[in-house]
């Protein structure tokens, strides 16, 4: 039992608490402490990726209580990769935030650390109720971060976000307690074994609980009928916060994958692969909705938020196909889309700062102060996010398309993804022309705004560079993610944890 497994939870908790205690410290000290906290996560998560890469499931029993009685943390390749992704993203978002976003209100850094605590905890835990608690931690810090700065449009978007998620929490509690009442356990591997051997008479109720959980996770992940909150909330958030939120929809995706492969997966008897078909038919309309939204968006950040919805739909489609090839393609696409949409949000922050009065609105204005640098970055990010070669989005989409089985699956997936990609490109190039090009009769003198801060620019560029790097290192990354997908779909090692197999 390696104690490193709990570090991704303890480190942000420690630094968050420290920052709360030291809320009177000067700005520089707080920034330094927060950055140290974030950077300390990187080597830990890297170590966990290597640890999980050995192939054995790692179990951490809190307080050394034996598995089904105590809460346990579970580390496999999938969540190790997600932890590393989160810490990478957090570092870049924090560096960007340290150049101004954190001054808009008090306690930004403490909230940021608690947000990381919630995200990392949700990834690691193997207990359903514990998952609920970590969801609430990440939600309450996300409420505060979303409202950071207290502008009117943030409050407006915040009310929807908070009320919806509170209702979601109620559904979560009903689903969890229903499962507890029927099976007598909340530990996921234990739950998997009990669901598999459950009484036939209980099956409909277990099914109801499963669908309740699906609603909750779908709300977090923003799948179609539950995604209307996302564009407004993400568009209102400060750039660095929106960049960090790029991982939040993936928490929902993670929870769906975890629960619907492990508890309601292949081994679940009459309830086997319960959510797959439903998710498939939710995923494709989600992509379509996101693309239509992006085409109709009148504001840059709203457009990017709709692209987050598109990526969620793509991930869900990959998961719903249910085979190793599709799942590993979805994981690759997840890494790509998280980093690139975060880069785009940071870039949008830089662009908006150089527009005089129009803000993020997609209309002609004076030329930006640095049209060439920002324009080039926007161009490359757009190509990558739309899925054109030579960037990682292309590879992710291609792998996904290739994983579709010939027949109805391919017939429904290919047109949605390909036409969706084309229309995304149309939306982005339309946005690019109005942001960076000069129209008829426009004022040709450049904006008098300050040139972009060099460090913020580097933070956005760093995230953007992930795209070519993901392509160059595609072979080892894909090998790891394929192993992760295979591990997720092979349930025997998980089930044997309770019998005393692992750890």
């Amino acid at each position: 039992m390696s104690h490193a497994i709990i570090l991704p939870i303890l480190l942000p908790m420690f630094f968050g608490a420290l920052l709360l205690v030291g809320h009177g410290w000067s700005r520089e000290v707080k920034r330094g402490v927060s950055l140290i906290g974030c950077l300390a996560l990187l080597p830990v998560c890297l170590y966990l990726v290597l640890l999980a890469g050995a192939g054995q499931l790692q179990v951490y029993a809190l307080g050394n209580w034996v598995a089904p009685f105590g809460i346990m943390l579970l580390l496999d390749r999938f969540n190790a990769a997600l932890l590393l992704l989160t810490s990478l993203l957090a570092c870049f978002a924090l560096i960007y935030a340290c150049r101004g976003d954190d001054e808009r209100g008090p306690n930004f850094h403490a909230l940021f650390q608690f947000q990381l605590l919630g995200i990392n905890g949700a990834f690691l835990t193997a207990d359903l109720f514990n998952l609920f608690v970590f969801f609430e931690i990440l939600l309450i810090s996300s409420y505060a971060l979303l409202l950071h700065g207290n502008r009117a449009n943030q409050v407006k978007a915040g009310v929807h976000y908070v009320v919806l998620n509170l209702l979601g929490s109620s559904f979560f509690l009903i689903g969890v307690s229903l499962l507890y009442g029927l099976t007598g356990t909340l530990n996921m591997p234990d739950l998997a074994a009990r669901v598999a051997s459950a009484d036939v008479a209980d099956a409909p109720l277990i099914k109801a609980a499963a669908y309740l959980l699906l609603i909750v996770f779908g709300l977090k992940a923003a799948v179609l009928p539950l995604c209307f909150w996302l564009p407004r909330a993400y568009a209102a958030a400060p750039a660095s916060v929106a960049a960090l939120f790029a991982i939040m929809t993936k928490v929902g995706f993670y929870a769906i994958v975890r629960v619907f492969t492990l508890v309601f997966g292949e081994e679940a008897g009459p309830l086997a692969n319960l959510g797959h078909e439903l998710l498939w038919w939710m995923a494709l309309p989600t992509i379509a909705f996101g693309v239509i939204g992006a085409l109709g968006a009148r504001q840059l950040q709203a457009l990017l938020a709709y692209l987050v919805v598109v990526s969620v739909g793509t991930l869900m489609a990959g998961f719903a196909m249910g085979n190793v090839a599709a799942l590993s393609a979805a994981l690759y696409y997840m890494v790509h889309s998280t980093l690139i949409s975060a880069a785009l949000f940071l870039l949008a922050g830089l662009v908006v700062a150089q527009r005089d009065s129009a803000g993020g609105d997609l209309q002609q204005e004076r030329v930006l102060r640095q049209p060439l640098v920002l324009g080039c970055m926007f161009f490359f990010a757009s190509i990558s996010v739309a899925g054109l070669p030579p960037f990682s989005g292309f590879l992710g989409k291609m792998l996904l398309l290739r994983a579709a089985e010939p027949g109805w699956q391919a017939w429904s997936l290919w047109p949605v993804i390909l036409i969706g990609g084309l229309l995304t490109l149309v939306a982005l190039s339309r946005a690019g022309t109005s942001l960076f090009w000069l129209g008829h009769g426009a004022d040709a003198s450049p904006s008098k705004a300050e040139p972009a801060d060099r460090i913020s620019l580097l933070a956005a560029l760093g995230l953007l560079l992930a795209s070519p790097l993901l392509l160059i290192a595609a072979a080892p990354i894909m090998a790891y993610l394929e192993a992760a997908a295979a591990q997720l779909l092979d349930l025997q090692p998980y089930l044997s944890i309770i019998a005393g197999g692992a750890a």
């Binding site: 609430e136 009117a152 407006k156 009310v159 509170l166 307690s177 009442g181």
Partner: protein, 109 residues
């Protein structure tokens, strides 16, 4: 007892949903509170309803399940914090947006 319990939960949840759909911030907060009461009682009931069953092994022939009680306590604390946050947010919204509609603007007539 089960019937009374179930009807109570149903009434609480239905009133909560009705208030939630009023789309004004005060009824919405009330509705969320009622729903969370219903949910808390539901969690409690999942440990099975019964009288005279202490949550200690060995005191009597049957014993109650202590876990749902622990869960419900956690849920109450979290629900309380969240409700407090919504109330503060609602006040902020009233000051900032001059309306109590959840959309932040009066609906068009």
């Amino acid at each position: 007892m089960e019937a009374v319990f179930a009807i109570t939960l149903g009434v609480l949840a239905a009133s909560g949903v009705y208030l939630l759909l009023r789309a004004r911030i005060f009824p919405v907060v009330m509705g969320l509170t009622l729903i969370s009461y219903a949910v808390n009682l539901f969690i409690f009931a999942m440990g099975r309803l019964g009288t005279g069953v202490p949550a200690v092994i060995g005191k009597s022939a049957e014993y109650g399940d202590p876990l749902p009680q622990a869960l419900v306590l956690t849920a109450i604390v979290i629900g309380f914090a969240m409700t407090a946050f919504v109330v503060v947010l609602a006040l902020r919204g009233m000051g900032e947006l001059k309306t109590d509609h959840v959309d932040g603007e009066e609906p068009r007539a």
